[in-house]
């Protein structure tokens, strides 16, 4: 079982080393990253906001060799001193302050450090979660770097407690209560374990270190990969609260593994191509746009730059476009990830393939020469007789010192796409019109395609246009560019584009107008002729106006297709829109005012008649009550009715129904009460009269 696994692993190693890596252009860290860091990490009045951001900025500047500015020290040191001097027990604050202090070197006296050290020792003794151990141990490590002697009393116990949180797949849990394990936590745990080993006053048990080494191998089994050969670490489950992303997770693991490799005796058996894959991952993200990403990238690469597992060596081409005209050399750079010099090695071009013949290599086993002044490997391509075109180059690195094989990680074979450009000759260009029934071309005229021409041709629908030319590379081979297009444009801007085919070492097109009559929409007239030849490997791609041709086409029949409408200026939709004429409803015809007023008077006339009729009948107020109380009730009754009628008039004029109903409610109740009293009094008065 174990042997099978080992065989499988060996095969996997072979496959990995033979794998073609390199769709992304990977270059080591250069000045562009440095200036990006200076642009992103900008302090406001010297301070960076929080101690975490300050550390990120200062560490990045430290790696790039940027001078510390006194402004930053002035603004940040007081914060650091305050955090360290305060009586709080928050281990995170102490850890952040100590981290920043280790770069800034603020003036903190030894007694403060000793106090903080004893606090952190207490934190470690009582710690149960991984982050507590991390802050305590790393804080003590920073204090030790300041020159204060600290030692971890129970290193074995601490080591054991941290190790207890590990899982079988190499990941770690954050504390004994959490169920999920995390790769990010594994990085933190490894870093903390490395700190424990270096702080221990007596050596930690070697078997325990061996177990952690196994855990690291298992962790590396869970590494993920992209298609272009880059490798990265990511969490198994994307949990929203704790998820940090592949960049931060990979950075954490590299930090932990390189720290542990420094303190562990003996080697960590991590395959070198995995370290190389991780380095490529960090280099392939280009220049990140946010401070945290840039910090993670630069810090991880600085750990990879001189780690004890294997140092990745990056092979890159400063320029992937080589010109035959200016006799460029193929230049290859091999450096570490941060751009430092590599050990003595030789680069050889193992194979070179043209893009159109992927099976047979055009070059094999060319060794590149080394220019020690510019630390660059170069190869003259002119004597190699390489033609213009697109190439896939496969390089291999061989280290001079065989001992370096254990220290450095080189890819098996690196493949890079490159262009070799050259000036293409255009020759034997001919154009002419000939009749369709005569086979031989008679009226062909020579054409100079190195500049625009002003030909003036004429043809009718029974004739054909013939155009042909030859393209040859600098080495004399037939060249087939990406684009060879002939365009005919009518006066009305209707265009027709034809692709020219290559046959028998020349490019030729014959436009038979008889068959093209319908395609041209039966449009006769002047057509401008343009020829376009272009390719990425061609230094003199051109667009030539060749002149014009008068076409005489027959009249379009009834059902012919009309030429397509010309494209509308896309900005015209932002212009003013057409006016809309609104049609309003005509108001109703109203009668003239005088007529209405006449009828108003006529309507009031019957009222007058009513009053006259009443008077003629002898209406009187005899049975109006005479005594006070009934009289007042009667008055109130009539007043109430008048009030209601007045309310109705107001309702018609301006009130709304709800107000009216509300008031009517009060008035109605009043009226009912008063009316009842009045009418009952009246009734009893009448009854008394009748009985008497």
């Amino acid at each position: 079982m174990a042997r099978n696994l080992r065989l499988l692993g060996f095969l996997a190693l072979i496959c990995a080393s033979l794998s073609i890596s390199g769709a992304a252009v990977i270059r080591p860290i250069n000045d562009a990253h440095r200036s990006a860091a200076l642009e992103l990490f900008v302090p406001t009045n010297g301070s960076f906001g929080s101690l975490e951001e300050a550390y990120e900025a200062l560490r990045t500047f430290q790696i790039f060799g940027v001078e510390k500015s006194t402004e930053i020290s002035h603004a940040t040191c007081p914060v650091v001193a305050e955090k360290l001097g305060s009586s709080s027990f928050i281990s995170k604050d102490l850890f952040l302050a100590l981290r920043v202090n280790s770069i800034l070197g603020c003036q903190i006296d030894a007694r403060t450090f000793e106090d903080v050290a004893s606090k952190l020792q207490a934190v470690i003794k009582n710690a149960s979660s991984l982050v507590d151990f991390h802050y305590g141990v790393e804080g003590l490590l920073h204090i030790k770097d300041q020159g204060i002697s600290v030692a971890l009393s129970d290193a074995d116990g601490t080591f054991h407690s941290i190790k207890a949180l590990s899982q079988s797949d190499g990941r770690w849990r954050y504390d004994s209560n959490s169920a999920e394990s995390s790769t990010y936590a594994a990085g933190i745990a490894l870093e903390t374990l490395a700190g424990v080993v270096s702080l221990a006053d007596k050596d930690v048990d070697q078997s325990k270190i061996g177990i952690v080494k196994h855990d690291i191998i298992k962790l590396f089994d869970s590494i993920k990969s992209y298609d272009d050969g880059t490798l990265y670490f990511d969490e198994k489950h994307v949990d929203a609260s704790e998820y940090k992303g592949p960049l931060a997770t990979s950075a954490s693991v590299i930090r932990g593994v390189t720290a542990f490799a420094k303190v562990a005796s003996g080697r960590l058996n991590i395959p070198s191509d995995k370290m190389l894959g991780l380095a490529k991952f960090f280099l392939s993200i280009g220049i990140p746009g946010c401070t945290k990403d840039l910090f993670n990238q630069i810090e991880s690469l600085s750990h990879l730059e001189d780690n004890r597992v294997s140092i990745p060596l990056i092979l890159s081409l400063p320029s992937t476009v080589l010109s035959l005209t200016t006799r460029d050399q193929l230049k290859v750079e091999v450096t570490t990830v941060l751009g430092s010099a590599a050990p003595p090695l030789t680069v050889s071009l193992v194979q070179a393939f043209r893009s159109d013949s992927k099976d047979t290599p055009v070059l094999e086993n060319q060794e590149l020469q080394f220019d020690s002044e510019n630390t660059i490997h170069y190869l003259d391509i002119i004597p190699l007789k390489l033609d213009a075109g697109k190439y896939k180059l496969m390089f291999e690195i061989s280290l001079h010192d065989p001992e370096n094989l254990n220290t450095y990680a080189t890819a098996g074979r690196t493949s890079v796409m490159a262009f070799i450009t050259g000036s293409i000759n255009i020759g034997k260009a001919e154009i002419g019109i000939f009749d369709s029934d005569s086979g031989k071309s008679e009226a062909l005229q020579k054409l100079d395609l190195s500049r625009d021409s002003a030909l003036s041709l004429a043809a009718n629908h029974l004739q054909k246009l013939h155009l042909s030319f030859q393209l040859t590379t600098p080495l004399g081979h037939h060249f087939k560019p990406h684009q060879v297009l002939l365009k005919l444009r009518h006066e009305t801007n209707v265009e027709h584009i034809f692709v020219m085919e290559s046959s028998a070492r020349q490019f030729k097109i014959v436009l038979d107008f008889l068959s093209l009559v319908e395609k041209f929409y039966y449009l006769s007239g002047k057509y401008e002729i343009e020829l376009t030849v272009g390719d990425a490997a061609m230094e003199n791609s051109f667009l030539r106006a060749l002149g014009h041709i008068e076409l005489d086409l027959p009249k379009p029949p009834e059902k012919a297709a009309r030429p397509p409408p010309l494209p509308v200026d896309p900005y015209s939709r932002f212009g003013p829109k057409q006016e809309i004429a609104h049609i309003f409803r005509e108001p109703e015809r109203r009668p003239p005012k005088e007529l209405s007023l006449t009828f108003l008077a006529l309507t009031l006339l019957p009222f007058v008649g009513f009053l006259i009729g009443l008077m003629r009948l002898g209406v009187n107020l005899k049975s109006f009550p005479s005594s006070v109380v009934p009289a007042s009730f009667s008055i109130l009754f009539h007043a109430g009715i008048a009030a209601v009628l007045l309310l109705y008039v107001l309702f018609w004029l301006k009130l709304d129904l709800f107000t009216t109903l509300k008031v009517l409610g009060f008035l109605g109740v009043f009226l009912v009460f008063v009316g009842h009293r009045t009418l009952s009094h009246h009734a009893s008065a009448t009854a008394k009269l009748k009985s008497s």
Binding site: P606, F607, G613, I641, V644
Partner: protein, 115 residues
Amino acid sequence: MAKSTSSDAQMLIRSLRTAYAATPTNLKIIDVYVVYAIVTAVIQVVYMGVVGSFPFNSFLSGVLFCVGTAVLAVCLRIQVNKENKEFKDLPPERPYADFVLCNLVLHLVIMNFLG
């Protein structure tokens, strides 16, 4: 024959007038009120005939108010009339109160519909 017809008609009218003179005054007041309401309604219909029914709701509310108040007055007359056997025991104040109340409600409804 025509003469007898016209003299019959005259006699009919005369007897009607004498019979009518015998009705009590309060009933006559109500009759005058009814006539007033109907005449107002007729004038409104004539107006609508002249100018067209444009705000139709106003026309309807006007006409129907006149008709409605005439109807209520007729109900009052029935209930107050002493010769009606059903309403003999009822004091006339009750129907009068009903008349006032119903008229007020009718006024409100018509005012709302008048627009």
